[in-house]
Subunit: 647 residues, 2 copies
């Protein structure tokens, strides 16, 4: 059996009240919080361990030594304010808020769950000062908070923690320049310089060079410290507190995964053959237990030295070890995309692949390894990547630009438009499209990408439902697409393998019937919503409603004739959008209805993800938005005024 | 009478073939091109003189001395490639392409006209290598071109000219970092360091500090030169040509408006009381003539010294001097917005105004001067500005964030989303919304802003039709709006003063009837499209079609009851979108129809701006897109199958 263990608040309370020397106390709180972090991520099934661990000592020193927030109160206008710009490190941050008594342990058990703690920080959580999760925005937001304090006459320093990879984002440098000019000095930025990005050393992705020189040249005071040495951390913070008239930056040298030996950067890179595997995701059972044992041993030995009682761990979950999970065997469209890149790329030497430090997540590794000279790693610099793709396209290449949809479609939106105006052809792959996985939270869930591409001139948007269709649609884009081509891909394993009709061939604007029906039809796209559509259709059958399910992968360009033939035969059609209720397939089809002759008493309704995307398990999030099969069935029953099952 | 004069190609040809020393020849070509630039902008009625003049000597040295493009040919794969990242300076660039014989003089006469030369560079123009106009993208695109050359095995250096103000954009620094890491060295960036932004010194907006130190700290080779001294320019270029293994940057000290004494930066700032007035826009008649005389005198004296014949000027336009133009007297909604900021700002001390170096264009000057402590100048750094607004909102302020729609809605899109996720209230003012003015071209025309905001959770988008409604809608946003509030404003003078009914009161989701009718209705918003709607309705009357015109300022949230009452009485309704045919008011109303009971054989059609926005005069652009009153009338006639006038 696997036991997931947590340290309750009382243990922290004892340590905080103890007579330990400052640094010893801080170290103990940090190590205890490391254990809670590890367990929270293990329990959640995902989360960012590496940077939670590298930032832990810095944030501990801030909360339990430097800042006044615990004494002043988390709502006091004069409090010091801390937030993490990268936000990935929130499991560690939440663990510290638990140690401080701001969050109850029960909440930590609900990491990445509905009504629990979001996978990236959210201001609705007590103690959290700002949302984050998309990179490079923190200093800008921090200077706004800092200026707000000054304008209100409130005291308190603003501390912004940044990653190092996120210094590849232009906004970081943009914000350094304005902060210095605007004379905002009640802000201290701390760089968690752990030197590893998502899975490779920063030196291999986009090196930062002489950081201190760079930052000083932007008009900031900059200093270095060892981010795991409490004497150095507290001294640097005290030093910066006394520097006035200039914004301040502490470059803290840290070790990714610090505290659990096999997760620590240098060693982990070696055992991983150059790849760091503890950036995100929960550890396997063995690694979890090994990490626990190491931390518990270290903590208890410190407690013993301090003549404090040993840890009294609480066990919150036990289950059989090494369960086989669906996702280990299920199909992934992103893997099919990765294979298609290699296959189609080998036929098209003009095809280049661009990446913004998400090579593994976006399925690019096979291409990266097969065609290293045609793979361009651009770091976490989406705007630069997209404009660079524009230059490559002007030179006659076919760039395939990759990132998560929420970053690519929005951060680089103007650059995509500028490329579009040149009339060149570029393929944009928006990964992690849609609501799921819902654990990482709003900053990562992409529900606006269709709308962000939709108004571009000469733009085609597709989303495949399975691996086979991924290859076909991508090939269509490469060989027949023009102008702005966007492919939308879910990142999770498919909840079921969508089976397409044997006679189905990809043709622009045309979908296909997955399951026929006579009373009504559901139109959807992508594995997630088609799965829910099929569930809903099955439920409707039991209500004696024969419901067709139609796959429509062309999201912004439905063919009118196809729509007339396939949809026009139903009195009412329902469209499911794995997207916000604006600008998705539903809107496109409604417009097609209005512009065509289908509309003779016929109706079409669209169901989409309303409001901010919920954080939680897939089922929790789908249910919350009433986009799970059961809710969809209920909505259709209500819309069509179907009789009760008993009737 | 005012005469607009141009120097024909033959004069340039003589100079180029002359035995003049290199620097003397370059200086003469540049000064002659300055005259053609001045005249082209005067003839066009708008354009950027200041930076055309400051960059002229650099670009002349590139084309007529350093680069191989004139000898190799503009399509040669091994040519050196030049483009301007800022693009504003294209009048000067076009003048040089004319001097080089690449563009005929006839084209230069069509600056900012349909089928002429776009107000910002476009690759469809012979000799133009990249589109630009939105700032900070150039180095990224340039490194893409440079890498493309290397991958294809082609020779030639890539030269990217940047402004200095655009170094406030984070993407510039983002691209420096990646270029250095990626080892791209066949690129030389030249900074036109004229030290004045749109109308103020860069030191007053966001100072750049020690530029050379900054750029060197990003791993680039950097050097300085006097950007008007041909010995220094050519020596710097030659020097950089020989530096291998590193990307290169020349910081060229220049003078904005160079060549026309009263437009030259230092002097012009003094006479303008600290404001530079020659950044954009055509000079008045007297200034044009004075500038011409000064340049002609200088050129002829150089020609005389070189024993070359005097200029033989061609006169392409004469007209009465100092005509009074409509736009000097017409209403401007942006002025009403500026007044509303002051009035409503004085009642709401929490209201702050943020600007990205477009204070005058966005009507912010009155607020800036009345409440300097609540006006935040953030420079050309939209992402930073928006995230900073997020921080200020978290501190309880109400930020009103301003820029042109095309920049604000797209460049800072992810930052807007991140703020929205925090649930704070922020007002975004998207200026220069819609197709007009069409002279500046695609980079400036904002046809996607509604779609870029539309999918944000809790978002309200409005566009006022006249000054009165501007104040009312802005007040509604300040006092009743929630979450993401977006106000869309045209920047040009209104083509007519839209008269609203005396009984009209602003109410969310409700429009008002400007002109009643019984047969059909046109729904539109904003002064531009309402004017065309009224023209179309008048034309339809002559076809015995009684057409109502309805103003609907709520672009993404039509009220269903209002729609049922006001639109449901017509068999067919036509919506005009001053926006791309995706995501605008038309789509919102079509969806409202489908979701409500209006839809009983009723129809609604939307007309919008298809494809890339055309460049030209307002009437040219409207006509090109078939969105002028006459074309709209024709489309409605055709849709409704109205009889011919003769029938």
């Amino acid at each position: 059996m696997l036991k997931i263990v947590f340290i309750p608040y009382e243990n922290f309370s004892l340590v905080r009240q103890s007579a330990l020397a400052v640094c010893d106390k801080l170290r103990l709180i940090a190590d205890m919080s490391r254990l809670n972090t590890l367990s929270a991520v293990k329990k959640a099934g995902s989360g960012h361990l590496g940077s939670s661990m590298s930032a832990m000592d810095i944030v501990t020193a801030l909360y339990f030594h430097e800042m006044n927030v615990l004494s002043a109160g988390i709502d006091s206008p004069g409090r010091d304010i801390y937030f993490s710009s990268k936000g990935h490190d929130c499991p560690g941050y939440y663990a510290l808020l638990t140690a401080a008594g701001i969050l109850p342990l029960e909440k930590l058990l609900l990491l990445r769950r509905l009504d629990g703690l979001d996978g990236h920080p959210d201001v609705r959580i007590p103690g959290v000062e700002a949302n984050s999760g998309s990179l490079g925005m923190g200093v800008s937001k921090g200077k706004g908070i800092a200026l707000g304090k000054t304008m209100r006459g409130d005291k308190g320093m603003v501390y912004v923690l940044t990653g190092d990879g996120e210094l590849q984002e232009g906004q970081f440098w943009e914000s350094l320049q304005t902060t210095a000019h605007q004379g905002i000095s009640n802000i201290t930025v701390i760089i968690d310089y752990n030197k590893i990005q998502s899975d490779k050393p920063i030196e291999k992705i986009i090196a930062l060079g002489d950081l201190q020189r760079k930052i000083e040249s932007f008009g900031w005071y900059a200093t270095h410290c060892d981010g795991h040495d409490y004497n150095q951390i507290t001294a640097s913070l005290a030093h910066c507190r006394n520097i006035t008239g200039q914004p301040k930056c502490i470059i803290a040298d840290t070790i990714k995964g610090k505290g659990i030996s096999f997760m620590e950067g240098p060693q982990a890179l070696q055992t991983g053959n150059g790849l760091y595997k503890w950036h995100s995701g929960a550890p396997d059972d063995e690694s979890y237990e090994a990490g626990c044992q190491e931390l518990i041993g270290k903590i208890n030995s410190q407690l013993k030295q301090a003549a404090l009682p040993e840890l009294s761990l609480e066990v919150f979950e036990t289950r059989p070890k090494n369960r086989v999970r669906l996702k280990d065997t299920a199909e992934k469209v992103v893997s099919a995309y990765g294979s298609a890149l290699v296959t189609i790329g080998s036929e098209h030497p003009e095809l280049l692949v661009l990446d913004a430090d998400l090579s593994a997540d976006c399925g690019l590794r096979p291409f990266e390894q097969t065609f290293p000279e045609r793979f361009i790693e651009n770091g976490i610099a989406e705007q630069d990547m997209v404009s660079m793709a524009g230059g490559l396209a002007l030179q006659g290449f076919l760039p395939v630009v990759n990132s998560f949809g929420v970053f690519l479609a929005s951060r680089a939106n103007e650059q995509i438009y500028a490329n579009a105006c040149e009339g060149t052809k570029i393929i944009y792959a928006c990964h992690y499209a849609g609501l799921l996985p819902a654990g990482p939270g709003k900053s990562h869930q992409s529900l606006r990408d269709i709308s962000l591409f939709g108004a571009l001139p000469n733009c085609t948007i597709v989303e495949p439902s399975n691996g086979w269709e991924t290859e076909k649609l991508f090939r269509w884009l490469v060989e027949s697409g023009q102008g702005v081509c966007m492919i939308r891909l879910i990142i999770s394993p498919s909840p079921r393998n969508i089976v397409l009709p044997e006679t189905y061939a990809v043709a622009k604007g045309n979908g296909c019937v997955l399951k026929d029906g006579t009373d009504t039809a559901i139109v959807a796209y992508g594995p997630v919503m088609l799965n829910e559509a099929l569930i809903a259709a099955d439920l409707l059958e039991s209500r004696t409603c024969s419901c067709a399910v139609i796959n429509m992968p062309w999201l912004n360009c439905p063919d009118k004739t196809w729509a007339e033939n396939e949809l026009g035969r139903f009195g009412t059609v329902f469209v499911l959008d794995n997207h916000a209720p604006y600008g998705g397939l539903g809107d496109a089809l409604i417009k097609t209805y209005m512009e065509s002759d289908i509309l003779r008493g016929k109706k079409i309704f669209s169901y989409a993800i309303q409001g901010q995307p919920a954080c939680g398990t897939p089922q929790e999030a789908l249910r919350f938005h009433r986009m799970d099969g059961e809710s969809i069935c209920e909505k259709i029953v209500s819309q069509l005024c179907l009789p009760c099952p008993s009737a």
